[in-house]
Amino acid sequence: MSASFTKSTARNIFYGGAVFFFLLFLALTFDTTQALPKRDNRANLTEQVARGKNIWETRNCIGCHTLLGEGAYFAPELGNVYQRRGPEFIKAWIKGQPTGAPGRRQMPQFHLNDGELEDLVAFLKYASEIDTNHWPPNIEG
């Protein structure tokens, strides 16, 4: 680098750039917050969905599955599982685990009662109705 380009110039670029782009990020965040009510399906955020999200979290589902593409990549995407499998299949599947099939990936038995299964399904239904810009590309997730 040329000698005329001094350390203090570099420092000013750093502080100026960091502050400017962080403020821009806050402005975009503000705009996103305004736009979210039309996209995030909050109208269907019921008590039941909240209970379902708590079950989702306290069973660490994200440790194997993805939800809207985020999580672990060991087991299928669940953001659209409500459309792919439907509520009855989901409940029966969770109740039937683990399959015990030799060599197959295994899902633990979580001992959820019928009410908890309904809560979890309500959460997955709510998640599946978020406007994700048409992701995933197809029903297989």
């Binding site: 350390k7 960091a18 990020f25 996103t32 660490n60 440790g63 985020e70 999580g71 015990g100």
Partner: protein, 479 residues
């Protein structure tokens, strides 16, 4: 130039006779932090091997260690050992930069034990009881923060992390305020304060999934593609000042430019996570453009490392530390820069989001940027903490072997996962009759076996790395 004063040079001889004093005695608190970091690193890799096997032998260790538990241990150990590494680096380099003893070495040691015990208890909790039981025992319902990727720690552990971070920042900040203020220490402190501040978003967990995910990234992205890069830059700059003897003004100018580009690209670059989670579509443009520029600061870091070593004014006897410093420059650019760019443009990410492509990038980026920069710091500082300027030739040769084994096997892990990811996308997401997830997984099992084999080589490299600490011999590397 203060480098020469760092160590009182001693004639070549046996390790035992080499007796180099630390410039400031309180720097010695870094030692337990570095040892803990390496120990937890070993745990991380063991659980990585378990998971790699579960990818192909699905019921391996089931139900004792289900995959989700192994993954939680693997990723949480990674985060905690890197934090131990950053803290050790802070305790080592801040006194030297500030030219005074640490404000309170005692507090640093107390914080070490609190952090180690809290971390160990958390890991034991993951392994000993079902996660739902752990949530109940730790009162997750009072303030639910658990069960989100990388932030699985019980709320009480998160509070503990904040407390430890605050004592650490208090200790270092007072040291800097009372002492010499350099660019390196300033950037290090900015990064560490940013780390603590953005971690606070881990306590915000709204029921609204979109908001939850939106602010979850304020911890995860603004850490690894934001403030952690400041910490990395400062650590790398510190080691380069020491091992090359290049004028500090030049190195600090580079450092400012690199971190300027980091934040200019990386902050809005957060948008590459806002493509498909319910956020507005304009993020596809903002996120693609800015994150496409995120390789720039990493490339500058590569140039920086090589330039400074080429222009060196001294030949530091610690060749291994120089190798790690160059290695982290290259591997961070490849892993974070190139492999990040590979799937960051929205039309590409539409197909690759949440596949093995993501996993391939995650592995090389974390190893190349953060694991390697912590090891660079350990490699430079540990001999000094053990009373010598550099390890003996034999020890350095073993350490360099471990560098190549770990680094090359990580390249292969990344390539195999990339191959698996491309095939997964092709079978599951493209074409007229996409295959179900598990069908596609079975078809790419071959690549998971290859990944596991590369993982075993990585583990051998890690064992050699530890062996290198116990190899004795001549205290100076031959010229």
């Amino acid at each position: 130039m203060t480098t020469a004063a760092t160590a009182t040079l001693v004639p070549p001889g046996d390790d035992a006779s080499a007796n180099v004093q630390l410039k400031y005695r309180s720097q010695a608190v870094a030692k337990p932090y570095f040892i803990a970091a390496i120990g937890l690193f070993v745990g991380q890799i063991i659980f990585g091997l378990v998971m790699g096997l579960q990818y192909v032998i699905g019921d391996f260790l089931f139900p004792e260690i289900p995959f989700n538990v192994a993954r939680m241990v693997h990723t949480n150990l990674l985060i905690v050992w890197l934090l131990f590494g950053f803290m050790g680096a802070g305790y080592y380099l801040i006194p030297e930069e500030a030219e005074r003893e640490l404000h309170s070495p005692k507090l640093a040691l107390v914080a070490f034990w609190v952090f180690l015990i809290a971390g160990a208890l958390t890991i034991v909790g993951y392994l000993a009881v079902p996660y739902a039981t752990l949530a109940r025992l730790t009162g997750n319902d009072i303030l639910p923060t658990m069960g989100r990727e990388f932030l699985e720690q019980p709320t009480i552990t998160k509070v503990g992390i904040v407390v430890v971070a605050l004592t650490f920042l208090y200790n270092l900040s007072l040291t800097v305020l009372k002492g010499r203020k350099t660019t390196i220490s300033l950037v290090m402190m900015l990064g560490l304060w940013g780390l603590a501040i953005f971690f606070l978003f881990s306590f915000y967990n709204p029921t609204n999934l979109v908001l939850d995910k939106y602010y979850w990234w304020w911890v995860v992205h603004l850490w690894v593609e934001g403030v952690w890069e400041l910490i990395m830059g400062a650590m790398l700059a510190f080691v380069l000042v020491k091992v090359t003897g290049v004028d500090r003004e030049v190195i600090e100018k580079w450092l400012y430019l690199i971190i300027a580009m980091t934040l200019i690209t990386g902050i809005i670059g957060t948008g590459h996570h806002y493509f498909w989670i319910g956020t507005p579509a304009y993020w596809q443009v903002w996120g693609s453009v800015f994150s496409a520029l995120e390789p720039v600061p990493f490339f500058m870091m590569t140039m920086f490392a090589f330039n400074m070593v080429n222009r060196r004014r001294r030949d530091h006897p610690n060749k291994a530390a120089v190798l790690w410093a160059l290695g982290t420059g290259v591997m961070a650019f490849l892993g974070a820069g190139v492999w990040g760019f590979l799937h960051t443009l929205a039309p590409v990410n539409y197909l690759t989001h949440g596949t093995q492509i993501t996993a391939s990038h995650g592995h090389m980026a974390f190893y190349g940027a953060y694991a390697m920069v912590v090891i660079t710091m350990i490699s430079y500082a540990m001999p000094l903490l053990r009373g010598r300027e550099a390890n003996g030739n034999r020890a350095q040769v073993v350490e360099m072997w471990s560098f190549w084994l770990m680094t090359v096997s990580m390249v292969f892990i990344t390539l195999f996962l990339t191959a698996a990811g491309i095939l997964q996308v092709w079978m599951q997401r493209m074409g007229d009759s996409p295959l179900p997830f598990m069908v596609a997984q079975e078809k790419i099992a071959f690549f998971y076996w290859l990944r596991e084999a590369a993982g075993v080589v990585f583990f051998i490299g890690l064992v050699l790395y530890i062996v290198s600490f116990f190899v004795t011999g001549k205290s100076r590397a031959p010229r």
